[in-house]
């Protein structure tokens, strides 16, 4: 086997152009996932009747099945569902006009939500109950107390795990190529399809994923350092 450095470089440069797609999938999934996950974590932590069972089932099911399965279920399930509805109500809309990347957004948000829920839940547990009571005692509503006191600290406490989640989703976003979204992995495949130098192309892709991962880890370390100033004394 012989490496072709100049082709690796060509592939590298070509793949760079789709980095925004990979980052967009990652960002959308993580942001939506954090919203879903925070809601699920609050529901479970405060044992909201009925909803907390629903949230627990969601988390268990998603964490118990592979991410590519979520993507395929959403892709086929949503397409079938949309087309059936359109037929029922006589709409002109067809699932084929849904952009492919939307399936990735939805599926990965659902996946990320389940993982984020566990991350945020452990963060919530790190905020002692006394602070919630103190907030109530000065007259805050539960909503105010969560928004201003509990959730910010839960986020801060779960930051290292959130950064792991971002990296995990970044890597997993490569699965979007199965629904023909041209992100980093798909692009590598396309670039190599002219000369069959797949190894070189995927090597270039690997370097790009690695670089992005390092950037994410560096950024989160910086944020963490700033935030941790407040937590030096631990929980008291």
């Amino acid at each position: 086997m012989k490496l072709d450095p100049s082709f690796i470089w060509t592939a590298f440069v070509q793949i760079l152009s789709v980095i925004p797609t990979t980052l967009l999938i990652t960002a959308v999934s993580v942001v939506c996932g954090l919203v879903i996950g925070t809601a699920a974590a609050l529901i479970r932590t405060f044992r909201v009747p009925v909803l907390s069972e629903v949230a627990a089932a969601y988390v268990i099911f998603i964490r118990g099945t592979p991410m590519i399965t979520h993507l395929l279920l959403i892709y086929f399930g949503l397409s079938l569902g949309v087309d059936a509805l359109s037929k029922q109500f006589g709409w002109a809309f067809r699932s084929s006009s849904i952009p492919m990347i939307a399936f990735a957004f939805i599926a990965f948000s659902i996946t990320a939500g389940a993982y984020a829920s566990e991350v945020i839940r452990s963060g919530l547990l790190a905020v002692n109950r006394g602070q919630l009571e103190a907030a109530h005692s000065i007259g805050m509503t539960t909503g105010q107390a969560l928004r201003r006191i509990v959730v910010p600290q839960a986020f801060a406490a779960s930051l290292p795990n959130v950064s792991n989640l971002v990296v995990g989703i970044l890597h997993a976003s490569s699965l979007a190529f199965t629904v023909s979204v041209v992100e980093v992995t798909a692009k590598a495949q396309i670039v190599a399809s002219t000369n069959w130098k797949f190894f070189d192309a995927y090597l270039a892709a690997a370097l790009i994923y690695w670089g992005l991962t390092l950037l994410i880890e560096r950024a989160s370390a910086l944020v963490e350092k700033r935030i941790n100033i407040y937590y030096r004394g631990g929980v008291a």
Partner: protein, 250 residues
């Protein structure tokens, strides 16, 4: 004036408060004594509605709440009129001393920020923390944290401040500074209900002492009556454990 009538509270099958009645006049300092597990904390938490009483009536000033039928608005009114100082301080750990004190003013009472800041600075100076405005709780000693907790309670200008063993989590050498602050604000005529095991402090700060055991008020009266000539056997037994080494003054 604060008046409690027939306050009850159960956890599961264990009845912790068995019909507590008590009256606190405006400006009075009431100290609640009692052995561990007698329900003192639970009583304070019921007044602040951190714990929902099973029954009874709470009256604070012109606000009267029937505990069986308390609405969200009733609870808000009660919390507006009361403030709590916690054993574990419970400061907001991601906020500075100043922000801890300002929080209730700005978020709950909607006081403009600049005014809230000025008032909070004044209160922190009063508790001797004028130099620690921008410190986070993790940068403060226990005694300093508790003084921030007191300033936070004072900021809301409540009709009564409830203290739940405010010094029992502190290292002995830090107890004095906190008691001194409580004494100081007691002199300003703020109504207070204090649960404490500091007998010397209780004796000289209280206008009225209540001895609780097993969820009932066993005996109450002026401090010198309770401390020097208690009538009930249970009170005598309890106080005996605290003399002489439990008593000290600052």
């Amino acid at each position: 004036m604060i008046q409690l009538k027939g306050i009850t509270k159960s956890f599961g099958r264990q009845q912790v408060l068995k019909g507590i009645g008590l009256t606190v006049e405006k400006g009075e300092v009431v100290v609640i004594l009692g052995p561990s597990g007698s329900g003192k904390t639970t009583l304070l938490r019921c007044i602040n509605y951190l714990e929902k009483p099973g029954g009874g009536e709470i009256r604070i000033g012109d606000c009267r709440v029937d505990c069986r039928a308390a609405s969200k608005k009733d609870i808000r009114e009660l919390r507006k009129r009361t403030a709590m100082v916690f054993q574990q301080y419970n400061l907001f750990r991601h906020k500075t001393a100043l922000e801890n004190v300002m929080e209730g003013l700005v978020v709950v009472q909607k006081v403009p920020k600049e005014e809230a800041r000025a008032r909070s600075v004044q209160l922190l100076e009063k508790v001797g923390l004028g130099a620690k405005l921008d410190a986070y709780p993790s940068q403060l000693s226990g005694g300093q944290q508790q003084r921030v907790g007191i300033a936070r309670a004072l900021a809301l200008n409540p009709e009564v401040i409830l203290f739940d063993e405010p010094t029992s989590a502190l290292d002995p050498e830090l107890v004095g500074e906190v008691l001194a602050v409580i004494r100081k604000i007691a002199k300003e005529g703020i109504t207070m209900i204090i649960v404490t095991h500091e007998m010397g402090f209780a004796q000289d700060v209280a206008n009225h002492v209540i001895f609780m055991d097993e969820g009932v008020v066993v005996e109450e009266g002026r401090p010198n009556e309770i401390f020097t000539s208690p009538k009930e056997e249970r009170t005598k037994q309890f106080l005996k454990r605290f003399t002489p080494e439990g008593v000290y003054s600052i």
